[in-house]
């Protein structure tokens, strides 16, 4: 859990690369950005070649087999651009609340990278149908998933190299996921 870090003056001290507390702060901030619809800022949390991935099966190669979502930075930008330009399935847009728990930090071979594991539960609802005419609209829906983040240290910041969310119902036919998990 702890590695040696060279600090100024060549004195060796034992510091965690990223503490659980720091990891939580990072995850809570990400959740807040999504829930407060600050999606342009959410985009900046990723590394340039960062990936946002909702697999059907994480043992398959996402370039060879289908995923629910497999977004590189360009895809993420397109996704947010479309949300801001009358994406019918997001008009009105979803409201979300992210609950994050069971956070654990694991080190990797690379000194500038850690794996952060957590559970996430997302409650989502699209308002806009006060008569309850449209089935599924105006009704909170819950998505639960096991998350795996690979975080990369860039200067003082941590950035997302991969955000992977394994939904518990990933292999079933799913309704629209046009918001950010």
């Amino acid at each position: 859990m702890f590695i040696s870090k060279v600090v100024e003056g060549n004195v060796m001290s034992i510091l965690p690369l990223l503490s659980r507390h720091e990891a939580e702060e990072f995850l809570f901030k990400e959740a807040r950005l999504i829930d407060e619809d600050k999606l342009e800022e959410w985009l900046t949390l990723f590394t340039e070649d960062g990936i946002y991935w909702l697999p059907y099966d994480d043992t398959t190669d996402p370039h060879e087999e289908t995923s629910i979502i497999y977004d590189d930075s360009r895809q993420r930008e397109k996704r947010i651009y479309q949300l801001r330009h009358k994406h019918l399935a997001q008009d009105p847009p979803s409201r979300t609340i992210h609950f994050i728990s069971n956070v654990e930090v694991e080190e990797t071979e690379t000194p500038t990278e850690v794996i952060v594991l957590c559970n996430s539960m997302v409650t989502e609802m699209r308002p806009g149908d006060h008569q309850y005419l449209q089935h599924g609209l105006s009704k909170p829906r819950t998505l639960s998933g096991r998350c795996k983040y690979r975080l990369h240290q860039e200067g003082d910041d941590w950035k997302i190299a991969i955000k992977q969310v394994d939904l518990i119902d990933r292999d079933l036919p799913l309704e629209n996921i046009t918001f950010i998990i």
Binding site: S67, Q82, K86, H135, L137, D171, P173, E175
Partner: protein, 411 residues
Amino acid sequence: MNTEALIKETEDDFRVHSRIYTDPEIFNLEMQKLFEEGWCYVAHESEVPNVGDFRTSAVGRIPVIVSRGDDGKVYVNVNACRHRGTVVCREERGNTRFFVCPYHGWSYKRDGTINNITDRDNFPDDWGKDIKGLIAADHITNYRGMIFASFNPDVESFDTHMGPLKKYVDFWFDHAVEGHVRVLKPWRALYQGNWKFQLENSTDGWHARYVHVSALKTLTEFGEYNSNVGWAGCTRGFAGGHGILERPRGDIPPELKSTFDMFQQELKSKYGDEYGEDMFVRRHITIFPNIQLMEFKLRIIQPVAVDQTIVYEFPVELVGTSSEVNESIRTRLFKEVSISSGSPVSGMVNADDVEIYARTQAGLSGGHMAWLRFGRGIHREKSERENEWSGQDMDELPQRCLYRKWLKAMS
């Protein structure tokens, strides 16, 4: 049920009653007449390539097992034990020697024939001699790898059902050097609306400029769509209820252009210029009642209830075609650069269609909006071939052909 009263066609108008989207009784009749007693797609051959491979599927409401027997042939059997009806196989796909019922242990061979009735000693000698195996489909057909089944001994011939659509389906499969495709694992989507909304929509050339405004705007912004191509092409409809929307190929992004040019050149040298040109036109092909051949993906519509539908989309690999071309196709599909592609659940395009289906289902609540109108271009339907009609690219011609067939099959 008097289905005649549900579709009204006159010289210059075409109306469909809203009950066909909302009435569970009509839904059940559709499942029987159109799916179970018609020709229903059950699986693609490439999903069961080896002896013992199986995949569970459905024909309308009937659960089935599609499996490859010891003789290498594909079989379609009802997925219910002949003893007391328990589902015999629950896995979606796999490979097995026997299908064993979990209730009292009866077992069936790969082709569905009976292997063992347990505790034989406790039955009269001749008991159960009539049980030859799981209940087999009355007819099975394999057309270019697509497996169809029918639970109607007197179903019309598959050739008659397909009619002149065959030519276009062949175009689609001829894109592969070896003439057939392999399907990848599907995207799976669920929507809260009637199955026919999806059936109507893929050949509806009119809605894109409204429903897909945001997708087109996004693709244009990111330099992935050439809006100069404009809206051209045509629609086609068939006596079998099938339909086609044809569009010129205008949205190939710059980074894939050279591969696609090479791809078409290969096809032209294989089939000749004329065929190579004609087959390469972009087409959405609907095979009645539940298949849509889209751009390099096979879409299957699986109705669940009158107001709930599952859609499977299988990206395809063109067998024998260069890996460069196949890779470009995957890039195009997975990254949603094509306006007709991408994950249906979270992609740029289908998610918006699905929103319309649910919203239309909502509008039909209460049944007071009784008649849906499909009149666009009804005054200019043309027929150059028997059982085939054509119209302008945004005409509601494929939908009219679909409902003419619907009425015939339902009565």
